[in-house]
């Protein structure tokens, strides 16, 4: 039995480890496109602020981890899948046969279709190689423009600010992290950043970038204004890496389409992580969740289902995120925008504390939080267990911060 995994990110590595546990004698091979030891993109911001050395970004810390688990790791891009022949074409022209295949190729940053995105000092911040280039160029006193105040933009904000650059953030939507936080909390994050000396321009788009002026780059905005910058960092979103699947017979939409067992439309081929359009717990629909916990869950489950005789049905992952924007911590869970039920909110704007809960009947279905670091995981637990809150719903309507008490009272029946 040869299990092959395309992609050396968290989904691929977790899958390989679980496969080894469940199938001790199988051959297991990972193919990663980057010339790196398997690493975590999540850790790049902490590498940028020099909190961890480069090795600190590695998914596993023991250099011999993969050898010890008898998992082969190859630094080779897979160019093509031939599902009929159960074979892969690699970038060096060679072919590899598989019995079961997992596609965990992750995603890539997208750039807006505007002039100048190809210029030398315009960067994405996605790979470790990007991180090294930004660490080199984002020097104290340099003017840096960050395009996009989404999750990735916000998480690298602090690392840029700590590097002592003069920082401007440009976001097309009317607030920061618009796909994770509601209007109130997204604008509180904006105010927080402005108080820390970052220039934040929401509802603004960059129309084009050209060379020239006193600095390397000159940007023009949709309101007609312009500014000069030494470096532009583009963080305007990511898309699944599915282009290489053309002609493979594997059905795709935004990501790879899968059934509740994470199987694709081709036999013996599975998908996991950012590239997989998997089941969303809250909506029951299939969507791409480019988040670490989903990558790990998919990796575990896909590996299980790749082993003959084992079958686990996916219940769906709760979409959730946690973000530290220059020290202000925000989190989102499930249907944070609400779905027509009651909402309960604590709004303490002066102290940057915010918690909004969304209910369907007496069940918690979503939440947005700001400035909370204690027991936030219980929001996930309450959502995913669909715990009926009974009389505690009313208490949470009065004071949403009592979620931990509500959980103890309703789920553990300890109070």
């Amino acid at each position: 039995m040869h299990h092959v995994i395309i992609g050396a990110g968290p989904a691929g590595v977790v899958a390989a480890e679980n496969l080894r546990k469940l199938d001790p004698t199988a051959k297991i091979s990972i193919y990663g496109a980057e010339r790196e030891v398997p690493y975590s993109r999540m850790a790049i911001p902490y590498f940028l602020i020099e909190n961890v050395p480069e090795q600190g970004t590695h998914l596993r810390k023991n250099d011999r981890h993969y050898d010890l688990m008898n998992i082969e790791v190859h630094q080779q891009r897979v160019d093509k899948i031939d599902a009929a022949a159960k074979a892969l074409s690699l970038e060096d022209g060679s072919t590899v046969n598989y019995d079961k295949l997992l596609i965990a190729t992750g995603s890539h940053p997208v750039r807006p279709p505007i002039p100048g995105m190809e210029l030398e000092n315009v960067h994405s911040c996605w790979t470790l190689e990007d991180g090294r280039a930004i660490a080199e160029k984002a020097k104290p006193g340099n003017t840096v423009v960050l395009m996009g105040a989404g999750f990735i933009g916000c998480i690298i904000l602090e690392s840029l600010a700590i590097r002592g650059v003069d920082l401007t953030v440009v976001e097309a939507e009317n607030r920061m992290v618009p796909r994770m936080m509601n209007e109130i909390s997204g604008n509180l994050i904006k105010r927080w950043c402005e108080e820390k000396g970052v220039n934040v321009r929401t509802s603004t788009r960059v129309d084009g970038i050209e060379e020239g002026g006193d600095k390397a780059l000159k940007l023009s905005f949709n309101d007609g204004s312009t500014m000069e910058a030494d470096v532009v960092i583009c963080a305007t979103g990511v898309r699944p890496n599915i282009a290489f699947l053309e002609g493979s017979g594997i059905n795709t939409d935004e990501g790879i389409l899968v059934n509740p067992y994470l199987e694709t439309s081709q036999a013996d081929i599975f998908a996991a992580g950012d590239v997989c359009q998997g089941l969303d717990f809250s909506t029951g629909s299939y969507m791409v969740q480019a988040i670490q916990p989903t990558a790990a869950d998919h990796g575990m489950l896909a590996a299980n289902n790749m082993v003959d005789g084992r079958e686990q049905r996916h219940r769906g992952c709760v979409n959730m995120n946690v973000l530290d924007t220059m020290g202000l911590i925000s989190a989102s869970f499930g249907l944070w925008e609400g779905s027509g039920g009651d909402r309960s909110a604590l709004e303490d704007y002066d102290n940057y504390r915010y918690l909004e809960l969304q209910f369907e009947d007496d069940v918690l279905v979503g939440a947005n939080s700001l400035g909370l670091t204690q027991h936030v995981g219980v929001l996930r637990g309450l959502i995913q267990s669909r715990t009926r809150l009974g009389k505690w719903k009313e208490k949470l309507m009065q004071d949403p911060t009592r979620v931990m008490e509500a959980y103890l009272a309703c789920a553990q029946a300890q109070a």
Partner: protein, 159 residues
């Protein structure tokens, strides 16, 4: 037989000795806000409920960690945060459905119960035996497992 922390809220008087002992053991200071065990106060009912990590088998915190900073202590079954490896990304704090991994902004790392290497300070400090460290099949453990099962991403066919 592996041991686990067993909590009997009926016996808790809300004295917070466990929180003091935990913060002193883990951070070297008496500061309940740093404690990895928390006593919740149900003031309308005059009840107190101590609560901390159950060291669940599913270990979402461990699996969600992108840098392998949470590992299993095979001797106690505890899931332990290695502070040198933790980058402070907080993914584990949202992944844990029990809400028992918390971010400490002073250290920039996360913290959770590590069972004090098999000699938990909270259990030793509890004057009323509301917190005990006993064989893992004792009462209360099954309830935690049920909650854990509900939050699992996958389910066995037919379950």
């Amino acid at each position: 037989m592996q041991k686990s922390l067993t909590i009997d809220p009926e016996k808790c008087t809300g004295c917070l000795q466990c929180e003091m002992a935990c913060s002193y053991q883990s951070d070297g200071l008496f500061n309940p806000s740093k404690s990895r065990i928390k006593v919740f106060n149900f003031h309308e009912e005059g009840r107190f409920v101590p609560y901390t990590c159950t060291q669940c088998d599913e270990a979402w915190c461990l699996h969600a960690c992108p840098v392998d900073a949470i590992t299993l202590d095979a001797s106690t079954g505890a899931k332990i945060v290695n502070a040198d490896t933790c980058v402070g990304c907080k993914v584990c704090t949202i992944a844990c459905p029990f809400g028992t991994v918390n971010y400490n902004s002073d250290t920039g790392k996360v913290a959770k119960c590590d069972l004090c290497a098999g000699d938990p300070a909270c259990a030793k400090a509890c004057p009323t035996d509301a917190i005990t460290y006993v064989d893992a099949d004792a009462t209360g453990y099954e309830r935690m497992k049920e909650w854990a099962a509900k939050t699992d991403a996958g389910m066995t066919a037919g379950a």
